[in-house]
Assembly symmetry: C2
Homo-oligomer: 512 residues x 2
């Protein structure tokens, strides 16, 4: 009786407060426009040739014995002592031939499967923020509670296609158990496709085992991938043992990693964007071809994350023109090789979700989307160079993603949409308010914002002069209120819990 009454109150409250953002459905998104390109064909060739020179003449370090053996068997020139591998352009070319240009990444709810490749655009959340912040409780180390909150929010928001399962670091969970708890939490609270950690063989095996429980069997996930993970090169020109452990493990199970060099030009590459791009390309191709040696035909993603270093502060420059150029150039290179592409969305250096956070994020999102980036990580919630996952920034970003999705719907030119009869009927000097044509269409004709305030000044003052940051805080809470936990079969949930509990005892993981 009590519960029913509570339910009723809750339902009423929900009805009152659900913002338009909560009603945007999950929908596959494609960019129907031709990819926007900043490089000429000969400039692409120039970067490609430079990369081949790097792979052939300079080489890449692989700090992992197993990997060196794989390269040796493949015919690469391996300097065991220096752990350096030189790869001929012919071998690169041969190995790239087996990479699928597109693949499906499955979610535990098949309605939420996503396509990675072609002109498909998928927005994923921020990843790996050590801190969490919101307007009410402030900036604080990430915790399981805030991790869960953000997963719920990501589940609610239609424009989010993919959850980065490393969203923020729950620092109150012991390190050996952390990947297990994160993996379990994502499966329990969300039914969307997600990314996981790639930090070493043990973590990767755990994620594969958890996925096998959820999807039924190891064979089932090998058949059609259900996990993705970012594998970073330690630029310049080095892959460490952890990342290689993740790469090899996921490739064996045919799960698609996103090979992503992390290059700040001026620090991890020469202080020049073309050099950074040539190096990024060489590093990415080294990782991508390695996946094909392990398991030919396994899907893999070309990742770009190059930007410049700020020479005044020594900080990474996020959301600036260099990042925009690098994003678009990376997309062109991926297309040149026929590979799916991973980039980033809402990057910025701001310490608070202000105008800087917003314009830097847009300066990342526009090139990402127009360049046909298939997987756009950090699309929502990223603040302070990625150190903070911000609740309000997440909501601000979601509005941006929703507007961008509408932009990608484009225009339909038809007799009905041109409405010449309506134009004739109203005639010069008239107005279209309240006409039958308007009444029949106004509710769905245009994007309906949630965060963006379109009231007049006087009404805005009456309503408390709230800026976008304050409104986003309220909207975040309303969105969380509308969250509904997607059912996980109890048998699966039980097995998953058993696995996690067992592995929590055994885990020897000492990093995250």
């Amino acid at each position: 009786m009590m519960r029913r009454r509570n339910g009723g109150r809750r339902a009423r409250r929900r009805e009152r407060s659900v913002p338009p953002l909560a009603s945007i459905p999950f929908q596959p998104l494609q960019n129907p426009y031709a990819p926007f390109e900043i490089l000429t064909a000969s400039q692409v060739e120039g970067i490609h040739s430079a990369s081949m020179h790097i792979l052939e003449e300079i080489g890449v370090e692989f700090l992992d014995e197993e990997t060196l053996g794989i390269w040796k068997s493949a015919g690469a020139i391996v300097d065991r002592e220096n752990q350096r591998v030189r790869i001929e352009a012919d071998l690169v070319e041969k190995l790239l031939k087996t990479v699928p240009s597109s693949f499906t990444l499955r979610a535990r709810n098949p309605d939420r499967n996503v396509t990675i490749g072609g002109n498909h655009i998928n927005f994923a959340t921020v990843a790996s923020a050590p801190y969490y912040s919101d307007l009410k409780t402030g900036r604080q180390p990430g915790s399981l509670k805030t991790f869960e909150r953000m997963i719920r929010l990501a589940q609610v928001c239609g424009p989010i296609h993919v959850i980065e399962g490393m969203l923020l670091e729950p620092q109150d969970v012991p390190i050996p158990q952390r990947h297990l708890v994160k993996g379990y939490t994502v499966y329990a609270l969300s039914d969307k496709a997600h990314l996981v950690a790639s930090h070493g063989r043990e973590i990767a095996e755990d994620h594969v085992n958890m996925a096998s429980i959820v999807f039924g069997s190891e064979e089932e996930i090998k058949h059609k991938p259900v996990l993705s993970a970012v594998v970073n090169a330690n630029s310049p020109l080095r892959y460490d043992e952890r990342m290689l452990g993740g790469l090899l493990t996921y490739a064996r199970y045919r799960q698609p990693v996103a090979i992503t060099p992390f290059i700040l030009a001026g620090a991890m590459s020469p202080v020049s964007l073309p050099a950074a791009l040539a190096q990024q390309n060489a590093e990415a191709l080294a990782g991508i071809t390695l996946t094909q040696l392990v398991n030919p035909g396994t899907p893999v993603i070309y990742g770009g994350f190059a930007t410049s270093i700020d020479m005044q502060t020594g900080s990474p420059a996020f959301g600036g023109p260099e990042g925009a150029l690098a994003l678009l150039a990376g997309a062109q290179l991926a297309r040149f090789y026929g590979l799916p592409y991973r980039g980033s969305g809402g990057l910025n250096n701001s310490k608070t979700p202000d105008a800087q956070a917003a314009y830097e994020s847009q300066m990342t999102l526009w090139p990402a989307v127009l360049g046909h980036t298939n997987l756009i990580i950090h699309s929502a919630g990223w603040l302070e160079s990625g150190l903070v996952c911000s609740l309000e920034k997440f909501v601000l970003d979601i509005e941006g993603l929703a507007m961008m999705s509408r932009f990608l719907n484009g225009l339909e030119i038809s007799k009905e949409s041109l409405a010449l009869e309506e134009i004739a009927e109203i005639g010069p000097g008239g107005n279209h308010f309240g006409t039958a044509y308007t009444m029949a269409r106004f509710q769905d004709a245009f994007y309906r914002p949630t965060v963006s305030d379109r009231q007049n000044y006087e009404t805005w003052v009456e309503n408390g002069e709230k800026d976008a940051l304050q409104r986003s805080h309220e909207i975040a809470n309303q969105l969380l209120e509308s969250y509904e936990q997607p059912a996980l079969p109890s048998k699966v949930q039980g097995e998953l819990m058993d696995y996690v509990e067992k592995r929590k005892q055994e885990s020897t993981v000492s990093y995250f």
Copy 2:
């Protein structure tokens, strides 16, 4: 003595505080990338055909006897009683043939002439804001003092190519004198190209006369244009007497107007973007062809300002996806006819320079720039649906324009920029800090921001936790501090003052 000492203090202060934005030079800007397009060729044809139907079958109202006579002489079907003109597609086509695809708009400093057409991008300030605001003194009616402040700021900021001489309304200047005072102030405080009002024959004649004084003679300005002005259609499908007076006057003196229908779909057009675009196109072509009847070959600009109306509040929806689509579609139509294109930059509905103001502005700027908009009005300072010119928003926008300019510089792929020797020398796992290559290039390698904060969190807190809005206020004052008045020959200044004083007595202008 006193003055010298003051000068010294002032000079020292200036040296200390000049922000990087002040050192960005005035530079012509071109978009080297192919124009980004959202319509297929057949969609462009579809909108074109619908527009021809509107011009031929529905017609446009011209509330001006002289204009109706001009159309009559040209062979259009003129309904004198209803002041409605129907224009055959053949006539439109014929008249469009004489419009130049590109032209130079001269500034009183020839180094600041601008090219309007082709892939040239020109950023102009906000226009016609009745209010001014800054963080210190708040929101207030525009005044001559704040008008002068904004003209100085626009003069200082390198990324601003063109000053909208209607920037904000100095409400403390009597209406009959206002256009004279604004015109004089712009010439006195700035040497950049500028736009003026088009509100009727008397105002337009005054602007032509002032320009003739500054540039030497009427013949001189007829020869090469020195003024531009926005002529709005009173949508739907109507031009009023004031705007037509401006159009006819400027066309006679061969000054290029920007014919800009002001359409909020759902109010001044059917609640459909394609209908709004077809109507905009018909209205724009009606005004553009009229200029050619007055003075064949006079330069003229195709203007787009269509967006949707917000169906919840009845307000214009600025900075949303509909505006972005309309901007790009308008650019394609202008290109279809070989006409220069005018659009807008930093549109938004926000009441304060917050995240909303920033993301909506970027949602306007990106399509404007990528669509090859030749004249981008409202690129800096626009707030609150154009009701407010904001000091801080102006500075925030300038940073955005500066970043966009860098983005348009693109990448130069060369042996030097690919830096393969440097990559080989540093090798895997090294770092490029402090190398000879870095030291020789780091200062100019990357964009150096002014508003954007890239400090770490701790330093930011130590420095007072200032958000972008607070920083922009300080930067605005530093920029104003660096202002230097560009010399105007005293003879010219004297004649100009005499003209303004004389006309102040005679003016019968009763609107602005």
